[in-house]
């Protein structure tokens, strides 16, 4: 095994591989270092290996190869109950035959804590999530949001340094989910917890995390803070997975360090920033965020290229207009413009010129 420089992290995945059947790797050579107090989200479609990583960290799966370090010690062989990790499960997994207080107290009891101390800690943890007055309810008598809070309190009651969350908000409705996101984030900040959070909801990942690890096909595709992930996706998977994206295929016409020109299939030339383009004449996929597309020439930087587009459909969405247009032969090019006073109204059938700042168009290697 090669020595790595990542050993100083609080949680370290060191060349971790995992296979269930001995034929395919679900996790391929994972290297990840999580700092103390960090909120790290593992984001990815189902089957991307993110949950397997979490399960290996929790101790329910063993790594086929590689080491997992927790606070500097190898925990590969450590059974789950000795890892001291707090965990919040997808469907809460509150023990149905115990009251809320018993659910929490049970975990302190198995740690051999005295009765008085247990009660104090349970109440403190419940108060932390504003569930103090529900202590004697059973899980079945509470709403999903309340159960979620209790599950959170249960994961925190024994003061773990590391908390794992496996899609904890998946079963809640949108409004409650957004509220809980804020509360979890708040708890993370005030308690100084290290949180590893698994989700397939990119909105959740962007709002809550310090860093996001985008998983696909058993590998981390990009590990970056939310803004960087959104604005500077490293490859076309990340660009497509995070947020909405327009993709224009073409060939690199000119490559000049920070800038490049791309010729589209229909012959038009557009500006772009090369990301993982190595040479001229290479096939590329240019990705542009819908809200960065402009149709007013006065908003464009001088010298920027503009191309022709035909408006196909304008959808009123309240705060924005979503305009679908035909660009370079593709009919699913989307532009989003803010609904402000004096905003120019476009109509289906209208021909306009569109363009973007070269930095917003990212020329990626097609997957």
């Amino acid at each position: 095994m090669t020595a790595t420089t990542t050993d100083e992290g609080f949680v370290v995945f060191d060349h971790v591989q995992k296979s269930y059947d001995g034929e395919t790797l679900v996790v391929k050579d994972l290297n990840l270092s999580i700092a103390k107090g960090e909120f790290l989200t593992m984001l990815g479609p189902s089957g991307s290996g993110k949950t397997t990583c979490l399960m290996m960290l929790a101790g329910f799966e063993t790594a086929t190869n590689g080491r997992i370090l927790l606070d500097g010690t190898n925990i590969n062989e450590l059974p789950p109950h000795k890892r001291g990790i707090g965990m919040v499960f997808q469907n809460y997994a509150l023990f149905p035959h115990m009251t809320v207080a018993e659910n929490l107290s049970f975990l302190l009891e198995v740690r051999g804590m005295g009765k008085a101390e247990r009660e104090a800690k349970v109440m403190r943890a419940l108060d932390m999530v504003q569930m103090g007055k529900f202590a004697h309810r059973r899980p079945a008598q509470m709403s999903g949001g309340q159960q979620q809070r209790v599950a959170l309190a249960r994961a925190l009651v024994f003061d773990p340094a590391l908390v794992l969350m496996d899609e904890p908000l998946g079963a809640l409705d949108k409004q409650l989910r957004e509220h809980m996101q804020f509360e979890i984030k708040h708890l993370h900040d005030s308690l100084g917890l290290t949180v590893v959070y698994v989700t397939h909801d990119q909105g959740e990942a962007l709002t809550m995390s310090d860093r996001v690890a985008v998983f696909n096909d058993g590998r981390i595709q990009q590990l970056a803070p939310p803004d960087e992930l959104y604005e500077r996706p490293k490859n076309s998977f990340v660009a497509g997975f995070i947020g909405e994206n327009n993709k224009l295929p073409g060939t690199v016409e000119e490559l000049d360090g920070e800038k490049c020109l791309v010729r589209l299939a229909t012959g038009e030339i557009i500006d772009a920033t090369p990301v993982n383009i190595r040479h001229k004449g290479q096939q590329t996929l240019v990705s542009i965020r819908p809200e960065r597309v402009e149709f007013k020439p006065e908003m464009m930087p001088p010298g920027a290229h503009m191309i022709g587009a035909e408006v196909l459909e304008v959808i009123y969405m309240g705060d924005i207009f979503r305009t679908r247009m035909k660009v370079a032969g593709s009919t699913d090019f989307v532009m989003k413009s803010r609904n402000t006073i004096g905003q120019t109204k476009l109509h289906p059938g209208q021909h306009v010129k569109i363009g973007w700042h070269p930095a917003d168009a990212r020329a990626l290697e097609p997957m």
Binding site: G59, H81, M87, F89, A93, F106
Partner: protein, 421 residues
């Protein structure tokens, strides 16, 4: 709440056209209710005729027997006129004589004698002999009867006749509990050698509890395996569990005979391996062990299926949660998994226990002498001794014991928590 709605809640609610809401609701549901009733009517009739009525008859039979009372009108009249403890005088013997003459004519002396014979053994012939000579008998009857047989002067026989002269009696319940009445009518236990029922009832209870416990012990891991294995393997295993279920009970029981008898497969195998020598072959059948082994095998699916259906609904995340949050696997099992399987344990246990309490064929075939259960004795009284009233009393007692256990279960676990699959 506003004032307007508060007012409304006091007045009876009506529909838009002014009818009371309750009446309108009942009317709208009436059709549905009638249809539901018609749908269950065939089953209800079937249960009534084939289940409720026979059980009622059986319960009645255990306290009602008119084998004697129906044939002794004169004697009954005398017993009514003379309270217990009165001297058995000439008038009593005269009444007995009148009834015996009638019995001779109707050929019912045997039936009447049998009923008294249940109470005092050896009295049936007393009646048949007396009926034969009744017509030729001359007064004074007391001396004539005593000349015929000294037993006619026995106060115990008269006590038994007085009790049998009323069709309603608790005598059979006394007999079912190894009790009887002495000459003065006091309840006393039967002599040591004749006491069988209480011992047998106790043995039935112990055997049933043992079988239930073994079934749960063996069934629990199997059910757990069934609930956690991947679908394909679980279905294969399920077929193995159900296979004996689809085989005839007799076939399964005789299979155990082949396996367990002294010259059987298992003993041969043990001798061959050298665990026991040829003279030391183990008696594994025709005793309690045989009953326990065969019945456990037959009743095992009844524990596995309810357990399986409960375990299937317990998500693995509970145990995972407990383990990841600090519980050892044993603690997680004991404190988190086991309590959640209790409805299945209760249902499976109760089902097996009730079935075991009334089991008949298997103990009859493989039980030998000390592996018999109360149901075998009930069958004996139904088929051999023809003392149906005693059989009914024993059966009713069995029913009561089962109901008591049902009640205990309801108090401890709650019948609404039972889950049969």
């Amino acid at each position: 709440m506003t004032d307007a709605t508060a007012d409304l809640s006091h007045a009876p609610l009506t529909t838009a056209d002014g009818r009371p809401l309750k009446a309108a609701l009942a009317e709208s549901l009436a059709v549905r209710r009638r249809r539901a009733f018609l749908l269950v009517a065939p089953l209800f009739l079937f249960i009534l005729i084939s289940f409720i009525v026979p059980i009622g008859q059986m319960l009645l039979k255990s306290v009602y027997n008119d084998g004697f009372s129906a044939h002794v009108p004169a004697l009954s009249a005398w017993f009514d006129a003379n309270p217990p403890g009165s001297a058995i005088d000439e008038t009593a013997y005269a009444a007995l004589h009148a009834d015996l003459v009638e019995m001779k004519r109707n050929k019912t002396a045997g039936v009447a004698g049998t009923r008294v014979n249940y109470d005092v053994a050896g009295t049936r012939s007393l009646f048949t002999a007396a009926a034969r000579g009744a017509e030729k008998m001359e007064p004074p009857y007391k001396e004539a009867f005593l000349k015929l047989d000294k037993k006619w002067g026995d106060p115990n026989v008269w006590r038994a006749m007085r009790s049998a002269a009323s069709p309603f009696t608790m005598d059979f319940y006394l007999a079912a509990n190894d009790l009887k009445r002495d000459a003065e009518g006091a309840i006393v236990p039967v002599p040591e050698g004749q006491a069988v029922y209480k011992k047998l009832m106790l043995r039935t209870l112990t055997l049933s509890l043992e079988i239930t416990a073994i079934c749960l012990l063996i069934g629990f891991p199997i059910a757990h395996l069934l609930a956690t294995l991947p679908m394909r393997k679980a279905m294969l295993l399920m077929i193995f569990v159900l296979l004996p279920f689809w085989t005839s009970l007799l076939v399964r029981t005789t299979a155990w005979m082949v396996l367990l008898q002294q010259q059987g497969v298992l003993n041969d195998l043990l001798v061959w391996i050298g665990v026991i020598d040829d003279k030391g072959r183990i008696q594994m059948i025709y005793n309690q062990m045989g009953t326990i082994i065969a019945m456990t095998h037959i009743l095992l699916p009844f524990t596995i299926l309810p357990l399986y259906s409960v375990m299937k609904t317990i998500p693995p995340s509970y145990v995972r949660a407990a383990r990841s949050l600090g519980a050892t696997s044993w603690t997680a099992f004991r404190r988190v998994y086991l309590p959640q399987t209790l409805p299945g344990v209760g249902a499976g246990g109760l089902l097996v226990f009730i079935l075991a309490m009334g089991y008949y064929i298997t103990p009859a075939l493989v039980g030998g002498a000390d592996g018999q259960m109360i149901s075998n004795l009930i069958a004996f009284h139904m088929q051999k001794s023809l003392n149906w009233s005693l059989a009914a009393a024993l059966a009713a007692q069995l029913l009561i014991v089962v109901l008591i256990f049902f009640w205990i279960y309801d108090r401890i676990v709650g019948i609404d928590k039972m889950k049969l699959g």
